[in-house]
């Protein structure tokens, strides 16, 4: 995970990380996240920024106990493959609910969280994670 420590790399990915901005092919309309320069579908070279709505559903997930460097104190946490409503699959951490509440097929939305801060003096990298859709109105007030 050496790339996590690169400030320029983080800065270049910032719009994707902060706002789930990918691209849409102007030729065939296919959407990509993370952004691509050339459309693998049709070979089109004209892509424009596309801001994904950030809603989708969990396709699969796992609970991470042995994390990459810098995420040690967040374990155990849920990591999910989410199919966005636009049909694109992305990987992201799941927050805002207990691990036992995570299940395949659950509806999620993006939230803005700290992704990693490599050390006390370094740049803090922020970005999207997923949480149950409709947060914080997710328990109908029945819990506890």
């Amino acid at each position: 995970m050496a790339h996590l420590e690169s400030v320029p790399m983080f800065w270049r990915r910032m719009k994707s990380l902060y706002s789930l901005i990918g691209v849409e092919c102007l030729n065939c309309g296919k959407k990509y996240f993370p952004p691509r320069l050339i459309c693998p579908e049709c070979g089109g070279k004209e892509m424009k920024d596309y801001r994904f709505k950030g809603t989708g559903k969990v396709v699969s997930y796992s609970i991470i106990d042995v994390p990459p460097k810098g995420l040690k104190y967040q374990t155990p946490y849920g990591l999910a493959i989410v199919e966005l409503d636009e049909g694109v699959r992305v990987t992201g951490q799941l927050v805002g609910c207990n691990l036992g509440e995570i299940k395949a097929g659950m509806r999620v939305e993006t939230t803005f969280r700290k992704i990693i801060a490599v050390n006390k003096n370094g740049v803090i990298q922020y970005g999207y994670k997923f949480r149950p859709e409709g947060y914080p109105r997710i328990n109908n007030g029945e819990k506890k």
Binding site: K114, Y126, Y135, P136, R137, K143
Partner: protein
């Protein structure tokens, strides 16, 4: 400034979902938790998740404010973030918020600090820019992940949360009739550069600090506008605990019914820069059109900003666009002191 020219176009709140009970903290230090909770009028306080800080709280609150305002983020040309727990000493919270909202690059940004009242100072700055037509909309956010030294009295209440306010001329959910500030140099609470936790002058934080400035601000505003207690339906005062605002109400002869709806401190503790602004958000969540609100923030060091507001017909519909304060208060997950210490990075080496 001409009264009622600008107002609140949108507002949003955010409170992390973790809670710790006052009794759980007291147990660790061998104190009588139920007595402390009763004395403070606070049952439990909010605790941020491991990956939440003032910036993430500010972004969440700001996004909710945008939903209520129903405006494009590019129309916001000023963003101020008031906090005493900005994640960086150098590098603004506000620019990250602006980037995350999609308000960049045509926007002026700055971080503000005045203990617990920097968020309201930011509202005043936005009012000036909006009233003079320099900008269409400005946003001010008060947010904190408050620090309290383990074992210190502040630890029972120092919590996390924030609220964002978008100021503009058109589409207001509440008009701002006027504002008044009251400031002196009063060393009741401080944190030196590089120090991890703040210090406070214990009992000195009451009379010459909180009460003098909050009452001075509220009374000063009413004198300025020619209003009286009876003209207002709701009052919100900064809430370091429930006791201080209640005592303020008593000395100003305000019926407690006009105060209690905004006392979010009971459920979430003192979110510092978020405190009075979350109290105001709670009132905006429930108020009817045409109701009058007086809100007075307080920041140690020391000063207060008071605002007189009148809600408009747009409030009931627009506020449905985002979660309200009670939604956040209701969603909660209790943590033990051990987990709380981990969340607040109190263990050495994290």
């Amino acid at each position: 400034m001409q009264n009622g020219i600008c107002g609140i176009v949108g507002y949003g709140s955010y409170i992390p979902r973790f809670r710790i009970k006052i009794e759980e903290i007291a147990k660790v230090w061998g104190k009588d938790g139920s007595r402390i909770a009763k004395g403070l009028g606070v049952v439990e306080k909010s605790v941020p998740d491991m990956d939440e800080d003032t910036i993430t709280i500010a972004v969440e609150a700001a996004k909710n404010a945008l939903k209520v305002a129903e405006i494009d983020p590019s129309e916001i040309n000023a963003i101020y973030t008031g906090s005493e727990s900005h994640p960086y000493t150098v590098k603004p919270t506000a620019s990250t918020v602006a980037e995350a909202l999609g308000a960049v690059p045509c926007v002026t940004c700055a971080d503000l600090e005045f203990a617990c009242k920097a968020g309201t100072a930011g509202i005043q700055m936005c009012m000036g820019l909006v009233a003079s037509d320099e900008i269409k909309y400005g946003m001010s956010i008060g947010a904190d992940c408050a620090q309290g030294k383990p074992g210190d009295a502040l630890e029972y209440t120092a919590s996390a949360g924030g609220a964002a306010y978008i100021i503009g001329k058109n589409g207001c959910v509440a008009k701002i009739e006027g504002t008044f500030s009251f400031t002196t140099d009063t060393p009741d609470f401080w944190r030196r550069d590089g120090a991890e936790f703040p210090c406070h002058a214990a009992r000195f934080t009451g009379e010459p600090a909180y009460f003098k400035h909050v009452i001075g601000g509220a009374q000063g505003l009413m004198d300025k506008l020619g209003t009286t207690i009876n003209d207002y339906d709701y009052f919100v005062f900064h809430q370091p605990n429930a006791k201080f605002p209640l005592r303020t109400a008593i000395s100003l002869q305000i019926p407690t019914e006009k105060l209690k709806e905004g006392l979010v401190v009971r459920h979430i503790g003192n979110s510092y820069s978020g405190s009075s602004l979350l109290g105001l958000a709670r009132i905006l969540d429930i108020a009817n059109p045409g109701e009058r609100i007086l809100v007075t923030s307080y920041g140690s060091g020391a000063g207060s900003d008071a605002f007189s507001l009148i809600t408009t017909d747009l409030l009931p519909e627009k506020r449905k666009n985002a979660p309200n304060v009670d939604d956040y208060i209701r969603l909660k997950e209790y943590v033990s002191y051990a987990l709380y210490a981990k969340h607040r990075s109190k263990i050495r080496g994290i």
